[in-house]
Symmetry: C2
Subunit: 235 residues, 2 copies
């Protein structure tokens, strides 16, 4: 193994998906430049989880970028709109939910591109999935492919013919497959946070889409969620 | 004319290109939602110009978004790197200059996309030009086209089949053509700011790429620059 691995930028939210993606990037031999956003989300507590995840994976640098998506609003995560709750995954409403934050992944990947360009990385990792997901348009494979095309054109290296690669290793994985993969890689899910609507002490609500998908994932994976308080369920 | 025009998001930097683009968007009948960035640029004085431009054009809202591109650095505009100076446009160095800010236009357009989605706009205007420009990769027509493809896939409307249009009306215009067009539309260039490296009182340096291109533009257009102090030249 060389002293210097290839650099990669990894988007880390503090949730279980991005923690798994960071472990995948590490296994593939990349030095990790972690990037997290304080964007006006109601669950800003996830930043603390992101810091733990970046530290646990041995990121060589972790930038937390503050941006203000509340200036635009339009989402239950960044505006005074209630986060929808349900009793089970089956009861999650069809269509693109109100927790969708307009252009969030486009914005996150754009900053990752700036970071990548400055550290001479040609690889960016993001933990989107189009399987057990909330129906967000910017989690689909065709979105990731379009961003990859853009990324190569947008940069100095791209102008010289180099390609930027956007890795979305979970895009075709179910939540339980992600958990299996992360467990194999030794991810400590006890430090991750998933809930969109935690209470003041950081305790998960247990009934938002993100809590429901997390609980289903651990159930299907046949594992206990180490964050025992994270998804206690509505009852 | 209807009471309610179609909304468009217009990126306004405070420079002469974006002031012209705002006038073009207005002429095409759009209600203007202006968007400007305080991104850590050394010429933050351009924000004042952007506010004047947005007001002059009658923008119905103007959001100034603060982001920190200094966290990444890598540019003379956002890092402790000297801005290159030259005596004339002919002496501007070949290639992508150190004033290039990694992924800046990708980031700006991503926020514009969020703004557009929230106000139900399908149109975004940006003042890039690939003629008299500094050689930035993210000013080329192929970059704009790639972003347009991405934008339609990235959004809620796009998921339903709607298209987002990225307008770059200056992309094939020289600086003097831009000035002619803006003059026809009544743009007040006296309120714009172009210099990358103004002194403490806001006076332009006269010899950065942006000053040189501006001066050349007004000369070729056969007009006096109303900002008489903006490009006094190096002598």
């Amino acid at each position: 193994m060389s002293d210097t691995n290839k650099p990669a930028v990894v988007l880390i939210s503090g949730g279980l998906d991005s923690a798994t993606v960071a472990a995948i990037a590490k296994e593939r031999g990349f030095d990790i430049h972690a990037l997290t956003f304080l964007y006006g989300q109601r669950h800003a507590i996830e930043i603390q989880a992101a810091r733990k995840v970046a530290k646990a994976i041995g990121a060589i640098r972790h930038i937390v970028q503050t941006i203000d998506l509340r200036a635009f609003g339009g989402s239950a995560l960044t505006d005074d709109i209630a986060v929808p709750k349900a009793a089970s995954v089956e009861q999650i409403q069809e269509g693109i939910p109100i927790t969708y934050v307009p252009a969030r992944n486009t914005i996150f990947l754009s900053f990752a591109l700036a970071y990548a360009e400055v550290v001479s990385a040609s690889d960016i990792f993001i933990g989107v999935s189009a399987v057990d997901f909330s129906g967000y348009p910017d989690c689909r494979p065709e979105f990731i492919e379009a961003f990859q095309t853009l990324a190569s054109l947008a940069t100095k290296a791209g102008a010289d013919g180099s390609k930027m690669k956007i890795h979305a290793p979970l895009v075709n994985m179910s939540k339980s497959e992600t958990i299996h993969e992360g467990t194999r890689l030794g991810v400590d899910y006890s430090i991750t946070h998933s809930c969109y609507d935690p209470n003041e002490t950081g305790r998960a609500c247990g009934s938002c889409d993100s809590c429901l998908l997390r609980r289903m994932g651990f159930q299907e994976a046949g594992q206990d969620d180490p964050v025992t308080s994270s998804c206690p369920g509505p009852d």
